[in-house]
């Protein structure tokens, strides 16, 4: 029988996110300050990012390049897209299509 270990979600450092996304660390830090990325600050002031951050960064880059949005606007767009996802899921679960 396979064994499954309980693991904590692995947080990524600023440097690791920068390398994996190919962006300058300063830009990542700025996007974090704009509230576009899920992150926490530890006691030493270092930023730690959620595992999905690289994915989110790609999304941010696509929205910026494809729709010519500024970073502050992208924050709102991401929030609204999340909300639409949630509402659509609710609608689907309420009305099974026949």
């Amino acid at each position: 029988m396979a064994e499954y270990l309980l693991t904590r979600p692995v947080l990524q450092s600023l440097e690791s996110v920068a390398v994996r996304s190919g962006l300058h660390p300063d830009l990542v830090r700025r996007l974090a300050a704009l509230g576009l990325l899920d992150c926490t600050t530890d006691k030493n002031g270092r930023l730690w990012f959620a595992p999905s951050t690289v994915h989110t960064l790609a999304w941010v880059q696509r929205l910026r390049a494809g729709l010519n949005l500024n970073y502050a606007a992208i924050g709102l767009v991401l929030d609204l897209l999340d909300r639409i996802d949630m509402l659509e899921a609710q609608v689907r679960s309420r009305r099974p299509w026949t």
Partner: protein, 303 residues
């Protein structure tokens, strides 16, 4: 307005400028009156914006940390005066952490209007007056009240409203309270407040638009022989005729006994038959059922 700007942004007192900005951006997106339609959102947005305006400016933040909510009333040269042995010239009072910090203070900053600080936030770059955002709140009503309509007094985020509920409102319908929404800027009119009606689930009445379905419990002999039985509707009991030979699940329609409709056809009421049997049979009842079982060749599983 909050007196604690750090609490308003949900950050620690030693938060870095980046953390403050991060918290502010997220909250501003969440509570912007055009994104969040709940009536409390606009106040929360202003609160968050005021906190950010102060805490993002190192000089203002320093003064706020030092003097608390009354920091705007402390003269700029407070330290110089203190050094000269005239702390605030006797004109300045500051209450640490006290709420409503702008009253009764006779400093040089008297008459500062918080609204002035934010009027800019709602003004577009063009600068003209802009109408306030529309707001939405949920109004939960029991079936009976939705049926009757009438006036209702309600309090939403500290504001009181007298609402006229039209008879026969349906789930999801919006009641518009003109000019009761978010504030406009520069003298522009406020937005509207919409109350979205939610009909509270009722133990007896099931609503589908204006049609109402109720269960109609009947005895086996009433179902077999036919009967006229009372059924409860939101406007009181009405009689419904159960035709002979009615089985469970049959829906008897009572035309026009559903929810009223101010601009059209009333809904219908459906009484859904449920045949009930006594939980315990008396001696005689048992004999009669046994006799019926022996005599009848009815098989409900083979029709």
């Amino acid at each position: 307005m909050a007196t604690d700007f750090y609490a308003a942004l949900g950050v620690a007192r030693d938060a870095s400028q980046d953390e403050i900005q991060r918290a502010y951006r997220k909250l501003a997106r969440q509570y912007h009156p055009d994104v969040n339609k709940s009536p409390g959102a606009e106040d929360r947005f202003k609160e968050v914006s005021e906190a950010y305006q102060v805490l993002s400016d190192p000089e203002q933040r320093r003064r706020y940390d030092r003097f608390g909510p009354d920091f705007r009333h402390v003269p700029d040269d407070f330290d110089a005066r203190a050094a000269a042995g005239r702390p605030g010239g006797g004109r300045v009072r500051y209450a640490r952490g006290g709420p409503g910090g702008f009253s009764g203070v006779g400093g040089g900053f008297e008459g500062i209007d918080i609204e002035d600080l934010f009027s800019g936030l709602f003004r577009g770059r063009g600068g003209g007056p802009v109408q306030g955002a529309d707001q939405e709140a949920v109004l939960e009503l029991p079936v009976e009240e939705a049926y009757r309509g009438g006036r209702r007094h309600l309090t939403l985020d500290g504001h009181e409203f007298d609402v006229a509920i039209p008879p026969g409102v349906t789930d999801g319908q919006r009641i518009r309270l003109a000019r009761q929404g978010g504030h406009g800027s520069a003298g522009a009119p406020p937005g509207d407040l919409y109350l979205v009606v939610r009909i509270r689930p009722h133990p007896r009445y099931r609503l589908d638009g204006r049609d109402i379905t109720v269960d109609l419990p009947v005895a086996p002999w009433e179902a077999a022989l036919g009967a006229t039985v009372p059924v409860a509707t939101p406007s009181g009991d009405v009689k419904v005729r159960v035709p002979p030979g009615t089985s469970s699940g049959r829906r008897l329609r009572l035309r026009g006994e559903g929810m009223p409709n101010p601009n059209g056809k009333r809904g219908d009421l459906y009484a859904e038959v449920r045949i009930m049997v006594p939980k315990k049979l008396g001696k005689r009842e048992r004999e009669l059922f046994e006799e019926l079982a022996a005599v009848s060749d009815f098989d409900p599983r083979r029709t």
